[in-house]
């Protein structure tokens, strides 16, 4: 979820802005200055253009229009074949369209023929017929805005008891934040009572029940996680699989990441994918098949799958690897698999991945990075450690999919409120699924997330979701630059949704990233990144 201010009033620039999210100072003084120069009014319309560049963008728009008028055939090709990227960055979007034209347009933009005198005159046409409004407040200061504004999205529900339940949940959460556990407990009792009068089969009743449970857990069992985090890896995998089947979020994640990885691997013969959470390897058959079909033939594909160790002596990672190898063999893709068992991502060391200097590496993280955000005050935070060794691998691409939510705020009530709205929307979307047992087990999967967000703290709280805007700041600060997902990925994601999902899901483009959400609320965000080379990388580019 992009903070309202930085997405719309100022454009979500990569680079530093929000002072609250990153402990590092802004990397480049220059970037900060140019941010102040963004046209605030266009930002409110969703476009990021520097005031100093307005004239240039206008000229390019003019040239483009002239070119389009002069060659309609090119226009229709532009319309159908061109892949568009990041429309918020108007200057680059216009430039990319201009570069598609076969002939550079020759219309001079600074000079026009005055039709009456036939003399060339300097075009200085940006005058208004009426006096300008004063330009005060048109350029927004980010720091100011991001400190004040915080985004929470809600879809209203109207059943009376539903509303009352929400109010009571908020009151209870507020008591918990204040430490007034006796009042919180009596709130809980009231809510349990109200639940009996509310339809708990769907809607607010259902999700409220899970939040009431999570609050109980917190109040009575403490914040250590207990049984919620104690579920076995095997159980987690089952639930994950049903979540995968019941709704399109994971399919979207896999599909979008694979598309980006495929493009990044174009022209490379030795490729290595590092998957931060293998699970059943659901993401990889599609990539293997796509690589098998690519023009020029498939590369040698290595896959390193990271996953938790199996307690019962089975090597489940290896079993998945064998199945994928079987598939690869059947489509003639040379394939090698390696499993890396680790209970926590921060325990993985780069040497375990055995990356070869000659291969192109893709790092794939589906909802894993947020788990590294819990900080141990004694040492480097895990996220910094991991991002740093990812960089040292010099990956061709890093695909990141994360929940688009602000569930890592320090204040409990804020987190609670945000989670209530987020998971209400997610449950709403799940209503569209009618297939059992996928739906029921998917709900348990989500319920565990809720319980973790609400009832855990410290190292037990691993579901520390943060919105795109924060990830952009964090990843840019760690030396990554965005690779934009384009209109082709968008179109294919839309098609996927039409084929496999109910009405109501929507894909949106967000400043080079794609989000999938329910109606107007984005719930999951996919982005792609590349390490900025600064000469100190361990492997050559």
């Amino acid at each position: 979820m992009v903070l309202y201010d930085s997405a719309t009033l100022g454009g979500s620039c990569s680079g530093s802005s929000s002072s609250s999210s990153s402990s590092k100072p802004p990397p480049l003084q220059q970037r900060q200055q140019t941010q102040q120069d963004i046209d605030g009014l266009l930002a409110g319309a969703g476009y990021r253009v520097r005031s100093s560049e307005l004239r240039k963008v206008a000229q390019r728009l003019e040239r483009l229009e002239t070119a389009m008028v002069n060659s309609p055939a090119d226009l229709s090709q532009l319309a159908s074949d061109t892949i568009h990227y990041n429309p918020s960055d108007l200057a680059s979007w216009v430039d990319s369209l201009l570069s598609e034209f076969t002939q550079p347009p020759t219309c001079p933009s600074e000079f026009i023929m005055d039709p009456e005198t036939n003399q060339t005159v300097v075009s200085d046409a940006w005058t208004t017929a009426e006096p300008h409004m004063p330009q005060v407040h048109q350029n927004i200061s980010y720091e100011q805005q991001s400190l004040n504004n915080q985004l929470t999205v809600v879809t209203a529900m109207e059943e009376d008891s539903g509303i009352r339940l929400v109010h009571m949940l908020m009151t209870c959460a507020e008591c918990v934040q204040r430490g007034d556990f006796s009042l919180a407990t009596s709130c809980l009792e009231d809510m349990q009572g109200l639940l009996t009068r509310v339809n708990t089969v769907c809607g607010i009743g259902k999700v409220a029940g899970h939040f009431i449970d999570a609050l109980s857990r917190r109040i009575f069992q403490g914040i250590g996680g207990g049984t919620i985090n104690g579920g076995s890896a095997y159980e987690n995998e089952i639930l994950y699989h049903h979540f995968y089947e019941a709704c399109p979020y994971l399919k979207f994640a896999h599909f979008t990441a694979n598309q980006a990885i495929l493009e990044a691997f174009d022209g490379h013969d030795c490729v290595h994918v590092v998957d931060f959470n293998l699970m059943h390897g659901l993401q990889w058959p599609a990539l293997i098949q796509a690589l098998a079909l690519r023009p020029g033939g498939p590369p040698l594909l290595r896959l390193t799958g990271i996953g938790p160790p199996s307690p019962d002596g089975r090597d489940s990672l290896r079993e998945i690897g064998l199945r994928l190898a079987e598939l690869a063999r059947s489509v003639n893709v040379r394939f090698a698999f390696r499993g890396v068992a680790a209970s926590r991502l921060e325990d993985v060391k780069p040497w375990m991945l055995q990356v070869n200097p000659k291969e192109s590496v893709a790092v794939n993280s589906i909802m894993q990075l947020h788990r590294l955000l819990g900080s141990d005050l004694n040492r480097n935070s895990p996220i910094e450690t991991v991002l740093s060794w990812i960089r040292s691998l010099n990956p061709k691409i890093m695909t990141v999919v994360e929940q688009e939510a602000n569930h890592n705020q320090p204040g409990f009530l804020d987190r609670f409120t945000e989670a209530l709205h987020y998971y209400s929307t997610m449950f709403d979307s799940l209503e569209a699924c009618t297939v059992q047992p996928h739906k029921a087990l998917a709900e348990i999967y989500i319920q565990r997330e809720i319980a973790n967000v609400v009832s855990c703290e410290g190292s037990a709280r691993v579901e520390r979701h943060e919105p795109l805007s924060k990830w952009r700041t964090r990843l840019s600060g760690a030396g990554f630059r965005p690779l934009h997902l384009g209109s082709n990925a968008y179109k294919q994601a839309s098609m996927l949704l039409t084929l496999f999902s109910a009405e109501g899901y929507s894909v949106e483009e967000n400043d080079g990233c794609l989000t999938l959400g329910w109606h107007s609320r984005p719930l999951i965000a996919a982005s792609a990144w590349q390490a900025v080379s600064d000469g100190t990388a361990d492997f050559p580019a």
Partner: protein, 344 residues
Amino acid sequence: MAGSNEVNLNESKRVVPLNTWVLISNFKLAYNLQRRPDGTFNRDLSEFLDRRVPANINPVDGVFSFDHVDGATGLLNRVYQPSSLNEAQWGMVDLEKPLSTTEIIPVIVFFHGGSFTHSSANSAIYDTFCRRLVSLCKAVVVSVNYRRSPEHRYPCAYDDGWAALKWVKSRTWLQSGKDSNVHVYLAGDSSGGNIAHHVAVRAAEADVEVLGNILLHPMFGGQKRTESEKRLDGKYFVTLHDRDWYWRAYLPEGEDRDHPACNPFGPRGRSLEGLKFPKSLVVVAGLDLIQDWQLAYVEGLKKSGQEVKLLFLEKATIGFYFLPNNNHFYCLMEEIKNFVNPNC
């Protein structure tokens, strides 16, 4: 297209500020890429390019918003309200109490423009516009995400508008005043203005009270070519060619522009005489090529004995209200404010 392209580009540059020119030219360009000559529409590209913003329950500059989706139809309405003076109430939607029991708070049902084809209630330009409406006019705004053409032709947009109006009228939490009524106005720009008119007719026929209509350069037309269309074709961002395309995409197949949806007071239109139709504020931009149709609409209302005020902004182009960087914008907001708060 009338006039050479270069001359036309320079004309439009003279009358709007630079950032406005960039914004509207960008739309023009993007829309050209989306419309196909065979009448089909590249919806994927359109959705990809459209800049969207989510609702925000936390107030920003005194306004908060939230979405409501109708479970049965999937129709989305985005509600914008002024934030409570009591900070403790921020971040929550109170759906149990009316807006006020003493004063009257106007509720403006807003239909965004886009020639029936483009944009959504959550498009950034319209989200921003609705927020400004709330701030400057002291109203609640409900923005309707109606179904668009060519996938959904006439009368879908009107059906959705009517459904939204009924929804708004039946919300107890939108009531205000001592009479505990929802004080509704209909508003829209371009195609939204057209929708507002037709929904108001339906409302009048069903005896559902609408207090006023605000039509911002509403989209009307007709078979014949008017003087303003010929004179201004292509000069200020809009061409007759694209207008024709949008009508062909919206009207039932085989129909022409004298269809009453397009030309309500034309040869196939009807008089509204005797109908309890709301008062209207019709805003016409002097550089809009379809102004003759809008002026004919005003005449049609007058001939039907209906109350109408014309706000003619001589030097305004279409879309002048997207950015608050010109006097037309502030003039418009003042007029709307007075229109919906007649006792202030």
